[in-house]
């Protein structure tokens, strides 16, 4: 199956700092999503981004499909950004939205 590696595994930020989370995948994909799991356990969609760049407020994401990686940028971090960030992909050739998740990046934003 496809391998999905996220880095770093843990990240501690001071409020206001910027950060970049990375997701590497081992095969071509036709679906890539970033999720934020908040401290209450809810999985929140951040981006559906199989290729290209998107921005939503302080968050932006870039996927370079030909090089098999995606980046999530958090700017001016806030304590509400704390939680686990997951990258999930569907391998090209699979169908029906069979997402494979990375292990996540645990982010702690301190005041």
């Amino acid at each position: 199956g496809i391998q999905v590696e996220q880095s770093p595994p843990d990240l501690i930020l001071q409020e206001g700092a910027n950060s970049t989370l990375r997701c590497n995948f081992s095969d071509s994909v036709n679906n890539l999503q970033w999720f934020h799991q908040n401290p209450w356990g809810q999985l929140i969609n951040l981006f559906y981004i199989p290729s290209g760049t998107k921005q939503n407020g302080r968050l932006s994401a870039t996927t370079v499909a030909t090089e098999r990686y995606s980046l999530l940028y958090i700017s001016s971090s806030q304590t509400t950004d704390s939680g686990v960030y997951f990258c999930a992909v569907e391998r090209y050739g699979d169908s029906w939205g069979k997402l494979q998740f990375g292990a996540g990046t645990q982010v702690v934003v301190t005041p």
């Binding site: 799991q37 559906y48 029906w96 998740f101």
Partner: protein, 113 residues
């Protein structure tokens, strides 16, 4: 209005019991999923249904049986619960198949004692 809802939110039960988790989506989506998140927060797909038809069935013990009475509902029944079944179970949906965004429910935390 909740897009993907699950009941119950918490479920505590003893080994050997049988339990069900229900999922409903009001997004008009055709495809629904069950995922399991273990104690290390690793998420893994279990099943998927498209318009009441089973389309993904990962390596899951036979004690787990999904049922989809209609395309808006996907339930998960678990027989003879074991300690290792303790996890958070998430339901998700997407509009069709493959390259669409998936939307997740709030999760059901199952604790087997």
């Amino acid at each position: 209005d909740t897009a993907v809802s699950q009941t119950p939110k918490y479920l505590v039960t003893q080994m050997g019991n049988d339990k069900s988790i229900k999922c409903e989506q009001n997004l008009g989506h055709d495809t629904m999923y069950w995922y399991k998140q273990d104690s290390k927060k690793f998420l893994k797909i279990m099943f998927s249904y498209n318009n009441k038809e089973l389309i993904i069935n990962e390596t899951v013990p036979n004690r787990f049986s999904p049922k989809s009475p209609d395309k808006a509902h996907l339930n998960l029944h678990i027989n003879s619960l074991e300690l290792g079944d303790s996890a958070v179970y998430f339901c998700a949906s997407n509009p069709g198949w493959s390259s669409y965004e998936q939307y997740f429910g709030p999760g059901t935390r199952l604790t087997v004692t």
